[in-house]
């Protein structure tokens, strides 16, 4: 089975965001970049699938040469090789077209992506790739039972879980709970250094959206400390009007 996994290189979740001098992007000074936390579930599922069914895991990452540590981490977790797509876009559909184009060439049986990135928070990639590739998708998946040409999935929906069936080839977006991502061991890290990373230049695609401003959330006016539960209830009713 040929397995694809899409991985994003994102600011660590503990990053304090500062706005850059252009007013429309973050200031990257001092920011540590890591593998997107949800993509750890996608990588783990890809490797576990190969371990069970045989085949190959190919990782795809859009980004510059600075993404290499993240790609190497995924290779150390067990991916066989990687494709880095040399590009940068803030339009999630442009990213989807670039990924779809690269994935189509490899013709995998299944593609794993993370539920969302902790930077863009689009949660859109699985459906976008599905539409572009002409494949079905299941998003926010917390359980997957693969059985040859089909799978039973369980995914989180409002107020419960949806159970359904999906035919391969397909795209699956992975949510926490699906598995426990492995930590690469030292020999794996050494081996990953030899694994190939191909670089490809994506086709020019016109962007549909443009960020004109990036701002920090408006500051809170400060916490009002109260001494009793009665006083709190009164304020929530009279001042805040929420109960």
């Amino acid at each position: 089975m040929k397995i694809a996994v899409c991985i994003a290189h994102v600011p660590d979740t503990a990053t304090r965001v500062r706005i850059g001098s252009d007013g429309r992007s973050i200031d990257p000074t001092g920011v540590t970049y890591v593998l997107n936390p949800y993509d750890e579930f996608a990588v783990e599922e890809a490797i576990a699938t190969r371990e069970k069914w045989g085949g190959e895991v190919v990782a795809f990452c859009i980004g510059g040469p600075d993404t290499e540590p993240t790609i190497r981490k995924v290779l150390a977790m067990g991916a066989d090789r990687a494709v880095r797509i040399e590009g940068d876009t803030e339009d999630t559909l442009v990213a989807a077209r670039w990924l779809a184009e690269a994935i189509r060439e490899e013709a995998p049986d299944i593609v794993f992506v993370g539920k969302e990135t902790v930077s863009f928070n689009g949660a859109a990639m699985a459906a976008a790739l599905g539409e572009l590739l002409g494949w079905p998708n299941a998003s926010i998946v917390v359980r997957l039972e693969l059985d040859g040409q089909k799978a039973i999935y369980e995914r989180e929906v409002e107020g419960g879980k949806e159970v359904g069936q999906i035919m391969l080839p397909c795209v699956i977006s992975c949510q926490r709970g699906l598995n426990n991502p492995r930590l690469p061991k030292l020999p794996d890290i050494m081996k990953a250094k030899q694994k190939p990373i191909a670089v490809r230049r994506p086709a020019a695609v016109e962007a549909g959206v443009e960020t004109v401003r990036l701002e920090l959330p408006p500051p809170k006016k400060g916490c009002r400390f109260v001494n009793s539960a009665e006083e709190l209830v009164r304020l929530l009713h009279e001042e805040a009007g929420v109960i």
């Binding site: 706005i19 549909g208 443009e210």
Partner: protein
């Protein structure tokens, strides 16, 4: 041209996010001087059109076919894109729910539209749309403009007011038929296992969350009772979910759910940056923590410094008294 909104239904029930997108769609259509259509997709769903009238839909397009009984992203995407094309939609609004997140990108690809997911503010300036969406898990807000004639936008639930339903508007129903192909049904829902009638944190108006300071799962009765009294949902920090005290579905934060209730009460939660990412957009935040230096107080509107085991029972009593008065 027109504006259309996807009125999500599940198991034949309209949910609150459907009313929110219909209300916002109708309002934007008026501002843009365009006709507005709400779209219903499913099987046996025609009867739901009437209720959409009460939220401002004068026209409802209904795609009502047996093959669409269960949610299938590709089939529903085809139906919604067809509805958009048939009315030459300039703007398609969806809720950023589990369904909407699967449909919006598919519809945007089909329409070759510009696409923005999970938007929290949307306005028209000089006839052009501007959207605001949280990025970096709520740590910043991006303002976007669109470079294509058509736009597909999903709206974060619980942010845009649905308003009160008005009586007496009976919408005009227009039926549309879509030829669903076998390939469109290669992923399909079979059943939805509801979490025992519980309100979902992401949909609730009031959320009461508990953290590691509660010391054990046996103490969550306080949180449950407080939430029940307020008609709210129970949430949890990741520390509590990782410890197996509460299910992951209740986790609020960067790797849990993002919530925007009108009232969020954080009990014995320190307020780590990843937790704040999930709840800092709440309208009013209350923190109860024994440590006056806990970072949660930096985002809270109201705070009580004290032992949760004393304060929460007092709060339960105070609310009971308030409700009786």
């Amino acid at each position: 041209m027109s504006v259309i909104a996807y009125a999500e239904q599940r198991d034949g029930q309209l949910r609150k996010p459907a009313f929110e997108v219909v209300r916002k769609g109708a309002e934007l259509a008026r501002e843009l001087g365009l006709p507005f259509y709400a779209v219903l997709i499913g099987s046996g769903v025609k009867g739901l059109a009437e209720r959409l009238g009460a939220y401002g839909a004068e026209r409802v397009i209904v795609v009502d076919q047996p093959e669409l009984a269960a949610f299938a992203p590709a089939a529903y995407g085809r139906a919604l894109a067809l509805a958009a094309e048939s009315r030459n939609a300039r703007l398609v609004l969806l809720p950023a729910t589990a369904q909407g997140k699967d449909l919006a990108p598919r519809v945007a690809v089909r329409l070759d539209a510009a696409f923005a997911p999970d938007v929290t503010a949307l306005r028209v300036e000089d006839g052009l749309l501007q959207a605001v969406r949280p990025v970096y898990s709520g740590k910043a807000f991006a303002t976007l403009i669109f470079r294509k004639e058509r736009q597909v936008i999903s709206l974060r639930p619980n942010v845009f007011p649905a308003g009160t339903p008005q009586d007496g508007i009976s919408p005009q129903v227009e039926v549309l038929t879509v030829s669903v192909e076998e390939a469109d049904l290669r992923a399909q829902a079979r059943e939805i296992v509801a979490s025992a009638g519980k309100l979902d944190v992401a949909e609730a108006d009031i959320v009461v969350s508990g953290g590691r300071g509660l010391k054990g799962p046996e103490n969550f009765w306080m949180i449950e009772e407080l939430a029940a009294l307020l008609g709210g949902a129970v949430g949890a920090s990741r520390a509590v979910v990782d410890a197996g005290w509460r299910p992951h579905a209740e986790q609020v934060g960067q790797t849990g759910k993002v919530v925007t209730p009108k009232l969020y009460i954080a009990v014995a939660i320190s307020g780590a940056i990843q937790h704040l990412a999930g709840m800092s957009g709440s309208r009013v935040i209350v923190a109860i923590n024994k440590d006056p230096e806990a970072p949660i107080f930096q985002v809270a509107d109201y705070g009580i410094v004290g032992d949760a085991f004393e304060v929460v029972p007092q709060l339960i009593e105070a609310i009971k008294k308030f409700k009786q008065a």
